[in-house]
Subunit: 110 residues, 2 copies
């Protein structure tokens, strides 16, 4: 493992940017395959005001690219695409079962 | 991804058992490769009394096997082996750099 190995708590503070450099939000949670230990999705905190009323947007991990220049992650998405994306309230986290994951993957063309 | 996909917060509550079925402790933190999203080590909370004075023991993720029967993880270790293992205080988490990781891997024969 050549990359930085850090606590998931620190990854969960990371900012997420569009390719154009706009800050979209931050990683609120990491969804992990509990057997393999591989992150599968992040729950992106996007929208809202001062943390109030922000929903969580599941993003397939494969879409995130770590960018050392911003010490954060870049996704090939913009705000308009996110506004139409699957999301849930922070107090109503769904079960990330096969059906749910397939629906998220389908939205993102994966 | 066929396995359960869950929040890292839930993985961090999981118990860790020896092969003989003794509860060794619980997962306190997950150390992740921030580029690949793969968990590399867990910080096992072991020892102490009622959560007071417990150190953290880095365990290579490859040593943990999820066991549905106990809804937790099993490691090929016992308490005696852990008592001699690398550890750190919960308020003095080291940088998991190449040198540190190599020292942990070496202790566990990896």
């Amino acid at each position: 493992m050549a990359s930085d190995v850090i606590s998931t708590d620190r990854v969960e503070e990371a900012n997420v940017y569009s390719a154009a450099g706009d800050k979209l939000g931050s990683i609120d949670d990491l969804m992990i395959d509990k057997v393999s230990g591989q992150v599968c999705y992040t729950a992106l905190e996007f929208g809202g005001f001062l943390g109030i009323g922000t929903d969580r947007y599941p993003i397939p991990w494969s879409m995130l690219k770590y960018d050392v220049a911003v010490d954060g992650y870049v996704v090939p998405l913009d705000k308009t695409q996110l506004e139409g994306a699957p999301r849930y309230s922070s107090d109503a986290v769904p079960d990330y079962d096969d059906i749910y994951r397939s629906s998220v993957d389908k939205y993102y063309g994966l």
